[in-house]
Each structure stands twice: as structure tokens, then as C-alpha cells.
Symmetry: C2
Subunit: 209 residues, 2 copies
DNA sequence: GTCTATATCATGATAGAC
DNA sequence: GTCTATCATGATATAGAC
């Protein structure tokens, strides 16, 4: 009776895995149904049998990947009340996550630059799964300001700064690695140095006046 | 005798302008030769007559646009020796430039995410035009450190931070504007607020210990 | 230089036999 | 459910008349 079980046949999982690999590597437009079929070890007709169209297939991949990404981001928000420890842990987790998922970063940027059309629907889904609550991040910042642990920054703007500092090296990776010959963004050396610099910059930057 | 003049016929300029508009709007893959031809007021055959292929046409557009972008970036580096004024002026110019060129930002990000394959050749071109010199930015920072005007940051890492703080809102624009309902990244209000926050964050963040 | 018509090809999608 | 064969479309690119 459980018809939803049919939604996860072995074949279907193989297709989704192959589609994920290809879409993350080549992007929505660059991906070819033939290539996905080959990688999944089936023929094109089966792709359309299981998923109606390329768009539908892409949408499935998108939802799974973004859920994974945001879950990771939320999990990187520690519970501690100490602002310094909070920042240090977040920066550490978030950057490690990006360093380990080059394809996912590229995928998300592609999607954003294409207009982020799937975003609103995705956010709706996340909300209905987790229930709406004010982002923990903003709450933490407001608390820290109230306690006088940091100066009166505009919380949203501050989050943009923090995320930007962490994410930018990965966004610009291809240029940086080409221009600064020999640099590897994901190398332990660069990552460690970058984390330290971000933390120092932020930590000094938000000190109460 | 001046055959190079033939390289800038009215038709050719119309084509380049149309191609620029379309490529910036739709990206390399999304752009259609037919659409470019329509916009230029000619037919497809002429595109291939003047530019051999779509790739060649794209490359021309790419070079012109990137030269424009980097020239703007370099022009945004003021001569002043005062670190605070230097940062303030750079942040101001750079962000205004991005706010006014949404299409160009998207174009560059697309190109970067596709692997930045045209970058090395482009940088070569820039060097041979301007001659190599150590980036003024790095020189300024090293001087400021020597003079004790800022703490001993790693210069390259600092530049990445500064550019990241300025550029990230524009990179993430589609998401930010969708998630934070009503926010307009290019609005005078947001820009002014953001510039102030970046300058304060950076300025506090690099104070000598 | 400019146009029409067409070659050539790749892709997403489907029909229909088994 | 699975396969082969094929359609329909839309793209780049070119041939050839004017």
C-alpha cells in the first residue's frame, strides 16, 4: 500500500546520484540528459519515465542539495553564549563545509545568478518542515549587542559581512587560484590562515566603541 | 590604406553593442545568435561574416567588458597616503560601480564559475598594455603596516576580505532581495548603510594591537 | 556587403515493440 | 519497466544569389 516507497527504487536513486554529479559539474544548461543516463547506466528514455523532464529532474536535485547546504549552515551555528566562541566555531564549520563541497558552491552560485527562481519555493518548504522561527543568528547578535559585547551593528548587514568574508574566497576561487599562482583555496594552510584573519578582523571590528 | 579602420564599421559596432547587451543579460550559453542579430538589426549571416563564431564574438565582448571592469577597479584606488581616506574612497567608488552595472557583475561571475578560462590571456593583455607593476593596493597596505597605521595583516588576505565585503551583496543579490523582502541592494539607503558598516568593520578590524 | 535558403548537428522528448 | 528508433525543435554555421 505504501506507494511512496516506489519513489525510491534503486534505479531512481542511481539516476538522482548521476544527475547530481553532472548538474554540480556542468550546471543546469551545460548538463546533458544523455550524459546523466550514461552515468546512471540506463538510457535516456528511462530518465523521462522516472522524471518527466530535465527541469523536473533538476528541481529534485536542487531541493536535495540546498536542503543539505542550509542544514549544514544551520548546524554550524553553535549554542554557546560566548560571542567569540560562537564566531570562531561558525567560521570554522562553514568554511570547512565549503572547502569540501566545491561543486555545491558552484551549483548554488549558478542558481543564484540565474535569478534564484527556485529559492522562494524552497524557503517555503524549509519553513513548513522546520516551522518558522527568527533566525538564530540574528537573535544571537541582538543579544550580544544588548549585553554590550559588541557595538551596535545593524544585524542583517553584519550577517552579510560574515557570510561574505567566509564565502568570497570560494566564489572567486577560479580567479584567485589562477591569478595568485600556486594558491589552493582548499588547502589546510590557506584555510587556517583565512579563518584566523576573518576572526581577527570581525572580532576587532565589532568591539564596542 | 588603414585596414584597421574596417574593424570598426558602424555595423560592427552595432553588433558588438547588441552582443554585449544579450551576453550580459543571458550569459554565454543562454544567449542566442538570432536574438543578437535581431537586436543589431541585421541577420544571422552577418554575425558570422564579421565574427567567425559565437565563441569569437563572446571573447570580444568579454575582453572589452573586463577591461572596463578592471580599469574601474584600478581607478577606484586613490592616491592618498591616509589609510582611512584610502579605504573610504575605494569602498565608495567600487560599490557605486557595481551597483550601476548589475549585468556586468553577473557576467563576470558566470565567467568565473565556468572556470575563468579567458582570465589568464586577459591578464596577459592587461600587463602588456599597462606594463607589470606590483598592485598598488598591496603596496599601500605594506606601507601602512610599516608605518604602524594598521596591524600586521597578511596583505593578500586583507584584499580578499575588502573585495569580498564590497562584492558579496551584489553576488548574492537575487537571494538577498528575495529573502529579505523589499530590500533593494542598489538603493541609496542600503548602499550608504553598507558602505558605513564595511568601513567601520574594516577600520576597527585592522587597528594596530 | 547583404540577403535567403539550407546544411548540419545536438538535444530533449516520445512512440511503440517487447 | 526497459529498450530501440525516431520525432520535433532550435541552434550554429555556411552556400550562393544579388
Amino acid at each position: 500500500m505504501d506507494t511512496s516507497a516506489a519513489y525510491s527504487t534503486e534505479t531512481e536513486r542511481r539516476i538522482l546520484q548521476a544527475a547530481t554529479d553532472i548538474f554540480l559539474l556542468k550546471g543546469r544548461d551545460g548538463a546533458r540528459m544523455q550524459e546523466i543516463a550514461d552515468k546512471a547506466g540506463i538510457n535516456k528514455a528511462m530518465l523521462h519515465y522516472y522524471f518527466r523532464s530535465k527541469d523536473k529532474l533538476y528541481e529534485q536535485v536542487f531541493i536535495v542539495q540546498l536542503e543539505q547546504f542550509f542544514t549544514g549552515l544551520l548546524d554550524a551555528i553553535p549554542e554557546t553564549d560566548d560571542v567569540h566562541a560562537f564566531l570562531e566555531h561558525f567560521i570554522d564549520s562553514y568554511m570547512d563545509s565549503m572547502a569540501a563541497n566545491e561543486g555545491l558552491v558552484r551549483f548554488i552560485i549558478w542558481e543564484i545568478q540565474s535569478g534564484a527562481h527556485l529559492m522562494p519555493a524552497f524557503i517555503q518548504t524549509m519553513f513548513s518542515k522546520r516551522g518558522y522561527r527568527k533566525p538564530l543568528f540574528l537573535v544571537k547578535i541582538e543579544q550580544a549587542i544588548d549585553k554590550g559585547q559588541m557595538r551596535n551593528v545593524e544585524p542583517v548587514n553584519f550577517v552579510i559581512s560574515l557570510i561574505g568574508l567566509c564565502a568570497y574566497p570560494f566564489i572567486a576561487r577560479p580567479v584567485l587560484e589562477k591569478v595568485l599562482g600556486g594558491l589552493s583555496i582548499s588547502s589546510a594552510e590557506f584555510l587556517a590562515q583565512r579563518k584566523t584573519e576573518i576572526l581577527q578582523l570581525i572580532w576587532n571590528g565589532i568591539r564596542p566603541e
